[in-house]
Symmetry: C2
Subunit: 334 residues, 2 copies
């Protein structure tokens, strides 16, 4: 059968209210989402899954087309007080600084070494790119992978004093597993670096390396000492954010997703690409409303600002998940 | 477990001769490669699969890391008298010509309309890009998909007078299926257009859209009449050929393959990236030696020239498949 991502012909309302809830394969085996409180959000998710998996039903989607895409920073784990990959970059600058006396007195590197987020933010994209150049390039892809594996094993979050991987949102881990149990393919589609996420995404989220879509720098093929390798270059290849997300999804996956999870304006176009099409769709926004257990922020946050996408949620019938009331627990260690 | 694509620690010779041949799951169920003649090539393939699937053996590779990449044009189907996608482009020019009086008298379009391959070849990359611009861009991704589906269903090969999809090499279809039966993931990695291949790759080769890696043009996200779409732009995004193939493999798959199939110098770096690393690897070149059943060409061919890669095959112990003697039949319809 020729693949038809347009799902044309399946014009049914979102979350059809009469969908029998016993058609999803998981429902019979106890609660697949134990960290979600009973309520509108959980019900909407379960009803969506029931509808698209009900053989012969009006919303049925064949397993191969059950593609779900999820943002990472702020959607699957926190992004405060700064995006974790930035903490990685700052730690790399600290490691590399002794060998770079020329950085001394340069404001950008001074701010990086002192963790001065405000100055770094003011340095804008150009400043961030400079930090990426020195921290993410100049080694082979396999060397970089080892650097990431080492950092992720040893670095700790400034507030929670735990490895960052322990901060994955437990309700979202359950949601991804629930979808896979219903024959969905779960992809991460993040503005973060694709090679920064791949070394640990499988262990933490159950998402395979080939199911991670992210931003990238250019690489160059070379043979050194009889071994083929890819050298990471200090040059941007693709920014998988905002309007870049649908582009990345189409290029990497080649099918239009039927569900998308995000938390910020960087996810707006991905949510639009997923839901503004015919057929049953699920758009979901994680709204950070819990400063006690995690953080509370939306419209004015430097990291993960949620403004336009929050306004668009109502018109598009996206599910806005209220972290505080919808999630029984945020982290596994609670 | 953290993914380690370097396969470090698995340093065993290629095609370990003492590998028991009954460990591959397929072997017990009759011949999985009926269109291959018994001989060195078939034996090398079967022994490789046996070695990497033998639990506890020195060459064992976990299923998740059993990645195989295959070129398309000339490796999975013919590429003479011209690459099939070029025939598609020329047919598109014919369809569009009546609406473009400004093409009249322009040598490039004249050559395209007359199928004058020699003049088109002389127009070089710039000329080809011009044809891609008019034939592959200016519509949405979904509209383009329908154009491809329509063409692939109706166009016929100039020599064989059959749909191009009937010209898929039967031995290679069997090889891909055999590998999938042994828990390999089969990817296409082609210089051809990613969106040209995706609409039919699953039906013909069993390769899913998300397992196709290819060249691409840029796309732009837009919302039109309440529907989100991606517009194809007349601008090159990525050329997945030569040294671009390892780059594309790393970007899309994120793991180093353990087997690679190619047929031309465009596959040289992909074969190097796959095999010039530690661990058991299979590099395979399809050598076109059968002008009766298909075509015979190598070093001096305009399409699919095989020169450097043929020289490199010996030193790298790549398997050079002799189409004439190794393949019992080339096409399913024989």
């Amino acid at each position: 059968m020729v693949h038809d991502p347009s799902n044309s012909g399946r014009r049914v309302p979102l979350w059809a209210p009469d969908t029998p809830s016993n058609s999803g394969r998981q429902q019979a085996q106890g609660d697949p989402l134990p960290s979600w409180n009973d309520g509108v959000s959980k019900r909407a998710i379960v009803e969506f899954v029931a509808a698209v998996t009900q053989q012969g039903g009006p919303g049925f989607v064949p397993p191969a087309e059950r593609i779900v895409v999820s943002d990472n920073d702020g959607t699957l784990w926190p992004e405060q007080p700064m995006v974790f990959q930035m903490a990685f970059a700052l730690d790399r600058v600290k490691v590399l600084a002794p060998a770079h006396p020329e950085w001394r007195g340069v404001q950008l590197f001074k701010a990086a070494l002192e963790g001065d987020i405000k100055t770094l933010a003011e340095a804008g994209e150009g400043g961030l790119l400079e930090l990426v150049k020195v921290s993410h390039a100049g080694m082979t892809t396999e060397e970089f992978q080892m650097i990431v594996v080492d950092w992720i094993a040893n670095a700790r979050h400034s507030r929670f004093n735990r490895p960052h991987t322990e901060l994955a949102f437990q309700p979202m881990i359950e949601l991804l597993a629930y979808l896979r149990a219903n024959d969905f393919q779960t992809f991460i589609v993040s503005g973060g670096g694709i090679e920064f996420m791949r070394p640990w995404a499988e262990r933490i989220y159950g998402v395979l390396p080939e199911q991670v879509v992210g931003s990238s720098i250019k690489t160059k093929f070379q043979i050194r000492d009889g071994r083929a390798e890819l050298l990471r270059l200090p040059e941007v290849n693709f920014i998988n954010d905002k309007a870049g997300k649908p582009v990345g999804i189409n290029e990497f996956i080649g099918r239009r997703p039927i569900a998308a999870f995000g938390n910020s304006d960087g996810d707006l176009e991905m949510l639009q690409w997923t839901t503004m099409a015919s057929g049953l769709r699920l758009g979901l926004i994680v709204h950070h409303t819990d400063e006690k257990r995690e953080y509370a922020y939306d419209r004015n946050s430097f990291f993960g600002g949620l403004d336009k996408a929050l306004d668009a949620a109502t018109a598009n019938k996206w599910l806005v998940v209220d972290m505080k009331s919808d999630w029984k627990r945020v982290f596994a260690f609670e």
